[in-house]
């Protein structure tokens, strides 16, 4: 079955440093979504990427979808303590509504 891996599993940064998490799928994806889960909370939708090579920005967050539509990345510029949480990618192989979630990257930001 489809597998979606994320690296790194954990990342500790100093506030102000940049952060990147990478997502790799074993199969070609029709689209990819990103979610953020704060400690003790539930996953919250951030964005969806659909097109090959697509890049989208949300303030300090930059999302990319690979040319082959099998990988994606999330980059945070100048992290803040509010960025703390676990970031998940979730891939859709087409045929509608089922997502396969990556294993997540837990981000901790130290002052």
């Amino acid at each position: 079955g489809q597998q979606v891996m994320q690296i790194p599993q954990y990342q500790h940064v100093q506030e102000g440093e940049d952060f990147t998490t990478y997502c790799n799928s074993s199969t070609t994806l029709s689209n990819i979504q990103w979610y953020k889960q704060r400690p003790g909370g539930h996953p919250v939708f951030l964005i969806q990427l659909v097109k090959s090579g697509e890049v989208k920005k949300q303030k300090r967050l930059t999302f990319q979808f690979g040319e082959a539509k099998k990988n994606s990345s999330l980059h945070i510029t100048a992290t803040q303590t509010t960025d703390v949480g676990t970031y998940f990618c979730a891939g859709n192989t087409g045929g509608g509504n089922k997502l396969t979630f990556g294993t997540g990257t837990q981000l901790k930001v130290e002052l």
Binding site: Q33, P43, F45, F88, L99
Partner: protein, 113 residues
């Protein structure tokens, strides 16, 4: 936040007992999902529903059953709970637009002793 509630929010039960978790939505969304979240595994799909009485298995469906008799309610049942089913369970919903972004409930923490 989308109108999704889960009940109970916390439950401790003994091995071998049946357990039912409830997900209720007020958004009239077509699709509903049950996931479990465990350290190192992310979110794994247990079952999902694409309409009333229409359900299908996810990747970790063994030991679980579901029912959806109304649009707003999706029930997850553990027929005979085992310690390996100790987990945090999330319900999610999505609509019928092209994005299928999912909205998650607050979660249920289940401990099987």
């Amino acid at each position: 936040d989308a109108g999704i509630t889960q009940s109970p929010r916390h439950k401790v039960t003994e091995t071998g007992t049946p357990v039912t978790l409830r997900c209720h939505q007020t958004e009239n969304h077509r699709y509903m999902y049950w996931y479990r979240q465990d350290p190192g595994h992310g979110l794994r799909l247990i079952h999902y529903s694409y309409g009333v009485k229409d359900t299908d298995k996810g990747e970790v469906s063994d030991g679980y059953s579901v029912s959806r008799s109304k649009t707003e309610d999706f029930l997850l049942t553990l027929e005979s709970a085992t310690s390996s089913q100790t987990s945090v369970y999330f319900c999610a919903i999505s609509g019928v637009d092209s994005s299928y972004e999912q909205y998650f409930g607050p979660g249920t923490r289940l401990t099987v002793t």
